[in-house]
């Protein structure tokens, strides 16, 4: 029996990319308008009484003090309640979780969950790569984002014989999907040879094993399940959600072949939704790097531990495969504007469940889709959200 107290009645995003011509505000407004326009029976702006804003790296555009009041004004919603959420790479998915709880609590009727991130206003050197110099001056020095995941690839290769070709198959598949997604940053296929021959970024990860730096925004509109049909005849419900944490230092992992935070969050979310991995029709999972998706599909229970690389290279996770993963192109092809990422993944799940994913549409047999992010220091934060079309 799923939780199902909250429904998603609108969702939308802007085309992701290097959006030098748009500021944080324009991106957020674009996503908001897209979400509003997606509400089948329409929704007046005045219906919205709370916004949860997901943005993680405002330091990347020199606005370290972004807060809750930054968004309502630019969306024409001045005066409503608004809270900013920052929780590493799961920022957007955590904002969704919090938005669902806000609706379920009965305090708010209609909640806007909106994620936006300016990743490209500063140069890479001064922006995301400068992370190498942050944190502990010795034990974390040099730890740019790929270095948080590459050691897992090294160990997974050591323990399970996972190969660079298996990693590459994730990039090839997600870029194939991205080529079908009009919202993706990159809409171009890549080959295994392209991935293998790319320049090394953080051994054993090469350029196409890594997601790009992408600007973007996405938004969703949440109401109580009882009110869903006021807005749509095709409601999608929040079946369950969960979050888990793990020790933040890279050297504090109990295992380097999986993320404990993901495993724990998944167990909790499945329990809340009353579902098992076999009940999921498709999933949008955190593929910041190719190895991450391989670990995710193991940690989420779609394949056995150690089999993620083989499952990927054998096509089990492709559109039309046993469990389609990242039909949107994932972070690898669609992009990873951190605060927007989780909300955009949930939007893809929403489209898939409503049969609106066009060329990317998968068979929806059970009516359930799963969304997942993992990140933060030591990948110590994970969020899993499950959506369903089943009303009971």
């Amino acid at each position: 029996m799923s939780w199902n107290r909250v429904a998603v009645v609108g969702a939308g995003l802007i085309k992701f990319g290097e959006l030098f011509e748009q500021g944080f505000e324009q991106m957020a407004a674009g996503a908001f308008e897209a979400a509003l326009a997606s509400v089948d029976k329409g929704m007046p702006r005045s219906a919205i009484d709370f916004a949860v804003v997901a943005t993680q790296r405002s330091s990347l555009w020199g606005q370290e003090s972004v807060s809750g009041n930054t968004i309502p004004s630019v969306l024409g919603l001045n005066g409503i309640a608004c809270t900013r959420v920052e929780n590493a790479c799961p920022t957007g998915s955590d904002a969704f979780r919090i938005g669902a709880m806000a609706v379920a609590s009965g305090v708010y009727d209609c909640v806007l969950v909106i994620g936006a991130e300016k990743m490209r206003d500063k140069s890479s050197d001064e922006g995301l790569l400068a992370r190498a110099a942050s944190g502990h001056p010795v034990y974390q020095r040099g730890e740019s984002a790929p270095a948080l995941f590459a050691p897992f690839a090294t160990r997974h290769m050591h323990e399970f014989g996972t190969t660079r070709e298996m990693l590459a198959s994730v990039a090839v598949k997600n870029h194939h999907n991205g080529a079908l997604d009009p919202y993706a940053h990159f809409q171009k296929e890549v080959t295994t040879a392209d991935v293998l021959s790319g320049p090394p970024v953080c051994h054993p990860l090469h350029l196409l094993d890594c997601c790009p730096q992408t600007d973007g925004a996405a938004a969703m509109l949440l109401v109580s399940a009882e009110r869903a049909r006021e807005f749509t005849d095709k409601p999608v419900y929040v079946a369950g959600f969960a979050m888990a944490s793990d020790h933040p230092w890279m050297h504090e992992k109990s295992s380097y072949v999986g993320f404990k935070a993901t495993t724990v969050a998944a167990e909790r979310a499945y329990r809340m939704a009353g579902l098992a991995p076999a009940d999921i029709d498709m999933a949008e999972v955190h593929d910041c790097f190719t190895i991450t998706e391989i670990l995710d599909i193991e940690d989420l229970g779609f394949v056995d531990k150690g089999k993620g690389g083989i499952a990927s290279i054998e096509g089990e996770t492709a559109i039309g495969g046993r469990i389609p993963i990242n039909t949107s192109g994932g972070l690898l092809a669609k992009g990873h504007p951190i605060g927007a990422t989780g909300v955009a993944q949930l939007t893809e799940c929403w489209w898939q469940l409503r049969g609106e994913a066009e060329d990317r549409q998968v068979d929806i047999r059970h009516g359930n889709a799963l969304q997942h992010n993992v990140g933060g220091r030591g990948s110590g934060v994970a969020v899993v959200n499950v959506l369903t079309t089943n009303s009971g």
Binding site: S134, H136, P137, G142, E143, P151, T154, H247
Partner: protein, 459 residues
């Protein structure tokens, strides 16, 4: 001096890189022969000194808690003003009340340190003293010194006699003349003004006088600042200076360490050894009676990695990329270093008294990652271990230099810690490799060196 003083053991260290004098000469259209040792970007006089002392103590069979004085001689300590000696002592895990001094200001500083430590042991104010001399001078671009100035460190453990070698006599002279020097605010060391003036009117007469007063010896360590003066002095004295000649051939002119690296080589056989050190207008001669071969005097310093002139200049900090380097997130004078400086330098963990888990670093772990317990014993971590997993980062902004290994190590005491590795190990790094930890310079931030341990493969 009341108490006879012995050299118990010796340890030495050379930096990682070697630069052929011919490479320097090619850049300037001159001729050059031989090689010099050059510090990698993460090495300096402090890391070299640390390694030499660790080796000397191991050769002496002593633990650090038996040391009650540290005398450090170096022309250029890592801070022009700052906590150089305190940092070295902490990295060695010497207790806070250890005596000693930092002597600097010229390449005579190593001899000054040896004399000071000798005096302290002789006077009974220290029982076990460590003397370390180190230098990694930066020669002026295009000077003759550029193909001569190298780097290295050497440490002696001094105790009350008896011991394998006993210090027997000392002679000192001073003259207020300029040889190689560096003015206040200058980055690199100036060459001698006139080579013949220096040779004929300063070097040969002054050092002949000191050596003669020091007495007869079977093996000599003689200064050789230009590759010829050492042999000229040896001829004039009728001395066997092959010990120092081999040391200079290996590392180049290691400044304050040079005379004592030569003395180390001269301790390889019983008989009378003598050393003459010179710099900054000061000269000291010391004679040593060697009874038994001194432990560590023949240790191999390693062949190092050959680099070209441009890479050597980059490593010395002379060739610097334009643009702003990314600043470190934590200011080195800030609260984090006050709370966490000792645990970082001395390599400490917090052992949970409930479950035994080692939490690293202790200052950020009020609760145990193993059991949530809140009581810890701070302890020194093991400096050897096994690679659990690793990555090699290729994409970082300046001041980082790629490839940079990041290695998650299971130390032999059970602690799991992430350290940087050494770029020279990149081609062969593998899970399950055995590694040791060496002190390196992680960063220079706001003028301050930041030290920590790095993983080195044990081959």
């Amino acid at each position: 001096m009341r108490q006879a003083v012995a050299i118990g053991a010796v340890g030495a260290a050379a930096p990682s890189l070697r630069l052929a004098a011919a490479d320097v000469a090619a850049a300037w259209g001159t001729r050059g022969k031989g090689q010099v040792a050059v510090c990698a970007p993460d090495e300096d006089v402090l890391t070299l000194s640390w390694l030499a002392i660790v080796r000397a103590l191991a050769n002496a069979g002593l633990s650090v808690d038996q040391v009650d004085g540290l005398w450090w001689g170096t022309t250029r300590p890592p801070f022009a003003e700052g906590p150089s000696l305190a940092m070295l002592g902490t990295a060695l895990r010497l207790c806070g009340d250890v005596g000693g001094a930092l002597l600097s200001g010229s390449s005579h500083a190593g001899m000054e340190a040896l004399v000071a430590a000798w005096t302290a042991v002789a006077a009974g104010s220290a029982r076990t003293a460590v003397v370390v001399a180190a230098d990694a001078l930066v020669p002026g671009l295009g000077t003759s010194a550029e193909s001569r100035i190298g780097a290295g460190a050497v440490a002696f453990v001094l105790t009350a006699a008896p011991g394998p070698a006993v210090l027997v006599s000392m002679t000192q002279r001073s003259r207020p003349v300029l040889d190689r020097y560096r003015g206040d605010g200058e980055d690199s060391t100036r060459d001698v003004y006139d080579a013949r003036l220096f040779r004929e009117d300063v070097f040969l007469p002054m050092l002949t006088d000191v050596a003669t007063a020091t007495g007869e010896a079977d093996r000599w360590s003689l200064p050789d600042p230009d590759g010829r003066l050492g042999a000229a002095l040896a001829r004039r004295l009728g001395a066997d200076a092959s010990a120092s000649a081999s040391a200079y051939a290996e590392t180049g002119d290691a400044g304050a360490a040079a005379p004592l690296l030569g003395l180390r080589a001269a301790l390889r056989a019983p008989g009378r050894a003598a050393v003459v050190g010179y710099g900054g207008g000061r000269a000291t001669g010391i004679a040593v009676e060697v009874g038994d071969v001194v432990a560590g005097c023949a240790d191999d310093l390693g062949a190092g990695t050959a680099v070209g002139y441009a890479e050597a200049l980059r490593a010395r900090g002379v060739l610097v990329a334009s643009g702003e380097p990314v600043p470190m997130g934590v200011p080195p004078a800030g609260g984090m270093f006050v709370r966490g400086g000792v645990e970082m330098l001395a390599l400490q963990g917090g052992r949970c008294v409930e479950c035994g888990t080692l939490n690293v670093p202790p200052s950020v772990h009020p609760a145990c990652i193993g059991c949530g317990g809140g009581k810890f014993e701070v302890c020194d971590l093991a400096r050897t271990g096994t690679i659990h997993t690793f990555s090699v980062n290729h994409s970082m902004p300046a001041p980082f230099v790629a490839p940079l290994p990041l290695v998650i190590v299971d130390l032999d005491d059970g602690a799991r810690v992430q350290f940087q590795g050494l770029s020279e190990d990149v081609p062969s790094l593998a899970v399950d490799d055995r590694v040791e930890l060496v002190l390196r310079r992680y960063a220079v931030e706001r003028g301050a060196p930041v030290y920590g341990y790095k993983v080195r493969r044990i081959t």
